[in-house]
Amino acid sequence: MAMKRSHKKTDENNSVQSDPVKAAIDYGIDISMLIQNLKRPPGERIRRHQIALDTTLALCKAKRI
């Protein structure tokens, strides 16, 4: 009984603490990408964003052949 109560308390704590992460996952955000990005220095984040933007703009201009 005591074990069950303790287990429940832990679950509650986890659910409160991980709420923003859970909300992001529920929305469909790939949290692993955020985790990887946080390991990078800001300059590298900017560089990778520029690559993503350049690719997006190139695809917008792409013509169907």
Binding site: Q17, S18, D19, P20, V21, A23, A24, Y27, I29, D30, I31, M33, L34, I35, N37, L38, R40, P42, G43, R45, I46, R47, H49, Q50, A52, L53, D54, T56, L57
Partner: protein
């Protein structure tokens, strides 16, 4: 190259423009994976700073992108006083300049809520994560929903990482 954001920031920083990066690009610096097509900055709208901004963009052909004929940016000490926002397009990307941010305040308050980053030897001020979240919440735009969820998750992940150290 069109859309070279780092290059725009380098121009501003080298031109001694007093500014803070806000909006989607600030989110990128904090770790967001959303792609943004412009740079938003909050800056001191004093004539001296706006003239410094104009000078720093010299050669990038800045124009007012919201005006019908995309008028060239041509500020003088006198005309500077009439602006609260500047929505510009340059040869290397769009730059939006605001004098205040909803949820945070005027430029001085935004500056106080900023952090200094060094990127490739260029020092840039970026709105801190908490204030960026506040600003996004205050604007309450549907298009910011994903960015806001990412920022709040980043805040949580950062705290978890710091605790784990």
């Amino acid at each position: 190259m069109k859309g070279d954001f780092y290059n725009i920031l380098e121009h501003l920083a080298n031109g001694s423009v007093d500014f803070v990066i806000i909006g989607g690009f600030a989110g990128v610096v904090h770790g967001c994976t959303c792609v943004t097509e412009d740079i938003d900055i909050c800056c001191d709208f004093s004539p001296a700073n706006l003239l410094a901004l104009q000078k720093s963009l010299d050669g990038l052909h800045p124009v007012h992108r919201m005006t019908p004929h995309r008028k060239k940016l041509h500020l003088t000490e006198k005309t500077c006083k009439g602006f609260k926002n500047l929505y510009l397009d340059t040869d290397i990307g769009q730059l939006d300049c605001l004098d205040s941010i909803e949820g945070v305040g005027n430029y001085q308050q935004v500056r106080q809520a900023s952090e200094l980053y060094e990127v490739n030897d260029v020092k840039i001020r970026v709105l801190n994560l908490d204030s960026l979240i506040k600003a996004k919440k205050a604007m309450n735009r549907p298009r910011d929903k994903e960015a806001l969820l990412q920022l709040e998750a980043i805040k949580k992940l950062r705290t978890t990482r710091q605790k784990g150290r």
